[in-house]
Symmetry: C2
Subunit: 194 residues, 2 copies
């Protein structure tokens, strides 16, 4: 009986991610979201709840995309160390392609802007961080079995180190938009594992 939702939900979220990522949560107005998505104000509230609800849905979308990118790399890579290398290179390329147009990793931005003001978001970010560490731990563990990664430190220690370094890279990249420098940083980060 009812009229059905006409817009493409995926597209709307995608556009919302772009907007939030480029302006941050607090600087993004509902009007910005209306303009970016093409939806009417009331449609956004009808379909997504509130600005914060939509933002959190964007975080999940960004997380899903990130994980898919990593899984694709894992499938294509022939060794653990090259998986890690490619993950870092992907992030490097990501930072560089943003050509001064955006503010590093969406999660880093979210962490500094929201983590200590919204419990729902802090919870999400911690869970995301833990799962990223777990993901790296699995890769490193396998690499240590293959002897492609040294055993100076255990997989768990290397994992939290790598996640931290990756976050640093994505912050640094905002101010240091230079291919050669970022490449050098990645090399140095990964040299610990050799």
């Amino acid at each position: 009986m009812p009229k059905v939702e006409t817009f493409n939900r995926e597209f709307v979220i995608q556009e919302a991610v772009k907007t939030f990522h480029s302006k941050g949560y607090n600087l993004t107005s509902m009007q910005d979201l209306v303009d970016a998505t093409g939806l009417n104000r009331s449609s956004i509230y009808n379909s997504f709840g509130s600005k914060l609800d939509l933002y959190i849905e964007c975080l999940h979308k960004y997380q899903k995309d990130t994980k898919e990118d990593i899984e694709e790399i894992m499938v294509k890579s022939y060794s653990s160390i090259s998986t890690i290398q490619r993950i870092f290179c992907l992030n490097m390329a990501d930072v560089l392609s943003q050509n001064n147009n955006d503010n590093g990793c969406f999660f880093n931005q979210c962490t500094t802007e929201m983590a200590n003001h919204e419990d729902r978001i802090k919870f999400f970010l911690i869970e995301n961080q833990v799962s990223m560490v777990q993901l790296f731990e699995d890769i490193v563990e396998q690499g240590q079995k293959n002897e492609s990664i040294n055993k100076n430190k255990n997989a768990s220690e290397y994992a939290i180190y790598l996640v931290t370094a990756l976050q640093g890279l994505r912050i640094s990249g905002v101010l240091m938009n230079d291919n050669k420098q970022l490449k050098s940083i990645v090399e140095t980060i990964l040299s610990v594992l050799e």
Copy 2:
């Protein structure tokens, strides 16, 4: 002849830094600054210009404090590697002491929130980043002369790596508020230099 400024400018800036650092620029209202500093709204505009002007003054204050902390460490340290170690430990302690109360490094927050929306701020942040890299480069260079730091990579490469890692540590620390984990990260970061 004139009535003279009665408030303590240092104190006011200090309180403004706390406020901006804890809420970010966009979430901090002029009323928040009035409450935090005890100044009247008009006094703030009279003495500091605008909200943005005050924010930039806060960035300079934070930069000055950070540099003073590092200089104190440099004077007290007996070797380059221990200088670097202490800088990282200071930042670790800083993150931990903030007990879920604040959002990592003020500069990281500023980078993700403001770098691509305010040219004056982007300029400041890049200059700050360059000077931090230079500072680390000098320390590493000296360490390499003393043979307390290896020469696998040159001082400049280690410097940008260390600055990046430090930024990562201060982001990670917001979500990973655990002494043992942070200590392990710092150890791994510094192990490259051995």
